[in-house]
Symmetry: C2
Subunit: 301 residues, 2 copies
């Protein structure tokens, strides 16, 4: 049975039981360009109690450093080392789980944040945002076209949300993945994300496009997969029994906690509602729910 955060006792219990607080960001800390009520106070309170804060995002277009700057805009101070993005998780997965040798190159179908994380992990990247030829139409007859210059040193392809996706990029990415010896890693499965006033195509759109033409499935690294947790554990050896994942979505955040043996707190300030919580399969229910993250602070004080 999911316990509602509706008293000081429950809020205090959460404060006592957990050392590591993992947060989804959009819908938990902020919505569009507005910080949610009492978020700053809650984070400050948790820091005062020496809690370990970890911000877990499936945003694959930004590196950890780029994403930490987003917090500044809301007046929140968060360090790069507290941020775990799906681009970082993909780089860690390649390096530490798949153990791709450092002399192998990585073909990127994604944005610059993904390139930065792969380069930080020690890999030379190809494709991505730094090959202007890919912005032009595919030309099979042009010997200089990237499709006619497949690099035999590529050992992995990483696919994420790519605002520059086009036919040329998909066609060249496909040539690499037709080689079954080349790893296929995908940052995250999100099919959409809320843009400024409209729902927009997410990384899952790019991943499915590539998967379709190569008839292979990518290894997904973002929430709710184990890949993201592996990246966190590699970096900070947290005790899962004293960790709680806080999020606004069942299918990524809460599932990420459940799949990885963490307690979970659903906040109703984003995607889910009391009705969708009610309708959820009992085995998938979160440990706690609250109207908003700030309720933790409000009940304690």
């Amino acid at each position: 049975m999911t316990v509602k955060v509706s008293s000081k006792a429950v809020a205090q219990e959460i404060l006592d039981k957990y050392d590591n607080f993992l947060f989804d960001c959009d819908g938990v800390l902020w919505r569009e360009s507005s910080l949610l009520p009492k978020v700053a106070e809650t984070l400050k309170m948790l820091r005062k109690h020496n809690k370990n804060l970890i911000f877990v995002t499936n945003n694959a277009t930004k590196s950890r450093l780029q994403y930490s700057k987003k917090f500044e805009k809301f007046g929140l101070t968060v360090s790069e080392s507290e941020v775990f993005g799906s681009s970082y998780a993909s780089a860690v997965y390649l390096r530490d789980i798949l153990k791709l040798p450092k002399d192998k190159k990585v073909w990127v179908e994604g944005a610059d944040g993904l390139e930065i994380e792969l380069q930080d992990a020690g890999y030379q990247t190809l494709g991505g945002t730094h090959l202007p030829a890919l912005d032009r139409p595919l030309n099979m007859e042009d010997k200089t076209d990237p499709i006619n210059n497949i690099d035999p040193e590529v050992g992995a392809v990483v696919v994420g949300l790519d605002p520059k996706i086009n036919y040329h990029r998909i066609a060249v990415t496909m040539q690499y993945l037709l080689n079954p010896n080349i790893y296929f890693v995908a940052t995250n499965p999100d099919s959409t994300f809320p843009g400024k006033g409209a729902l927009l195509p997410g990384a899952g759109m790019v991943v499915k496009a590539v998967e379709t033409c190569v008839n292979r499935e990518g290894i997904i690294c973002g929430k709710p997969s184990k890949g993201m947790m592996d990246a966190i554990i590699k970096s900070q050896n947290i005790d899962k029994s004293r960790s709680i994942m806080i999020g606004d979505r069942f299918d990524t955040d809460i599932l990420f906690g459940l799949n990885n043996g963490l307690s979970t707190l659903l906040v109703l300030s984003g995607i889910e509602t009391p009705e969708t919580l009610e309708a959820l399969d009992p085995k998938q229910k979160p440990t706690y729910y609250a109207n908003k993250l700030g309720d933790l602070y409000e009940y304690i004080h």
Copy 2:
């Protein structure tokens, strides 16, 4: 049991039993830029016997007229009315099966051949190849961006192979399809096609990309779906029991024949081999097989 075309008697049987000969083109009539042996002679022989020839292609980038010009390059004379492409099938499906009113507009995520067929069917098309703004990056803040000018008169979206696919086009296509009252039609499911020296992404890649971000499935019109057969029947009231589908692929051509109650002839001049035929589920086997289409002519003469 699949009968091999290996004698004059079998070739003559096919000539006697069928009035309507439906052909896939690539891998049956030609491969890349070469006409296959004795194809011209076989077609001429069939015409001499007053057979009805129908050329069925999943190529969605060309209109029937554009595609009939491809035959000329090989010295074959084929009229527009003998060609059934998946772009035409999609237009016929919208008009005759879904009965989309003519005052509704159609948003196109595809090439100009698809636009031409939709316009020939009486619809005003939007998107596609004639909106230069879609070639530029998506800009939510620009009031003139197509994403901020969703046309309420659009009644259907048709998706096909689009060499100009980009994030902007997918994002705007998505806005239309988030409206469940707008039909979602897809030209064909082919995930790849053989380009000049490389396997390239097919219409299925574009269809899956769109399906993923709208969480809906498109109605597929090309082979092996019933949509293509509906288009043929609407145009020529053929007797299925006296019709044979000739193709080089199980999953589109032979299945198209089987699904629609036609006899089938597999030719081994394209995708399939004696080994893949041997391994096939008995329920999916073709009626006949031949090394090549030209064997029909060679055994008769």
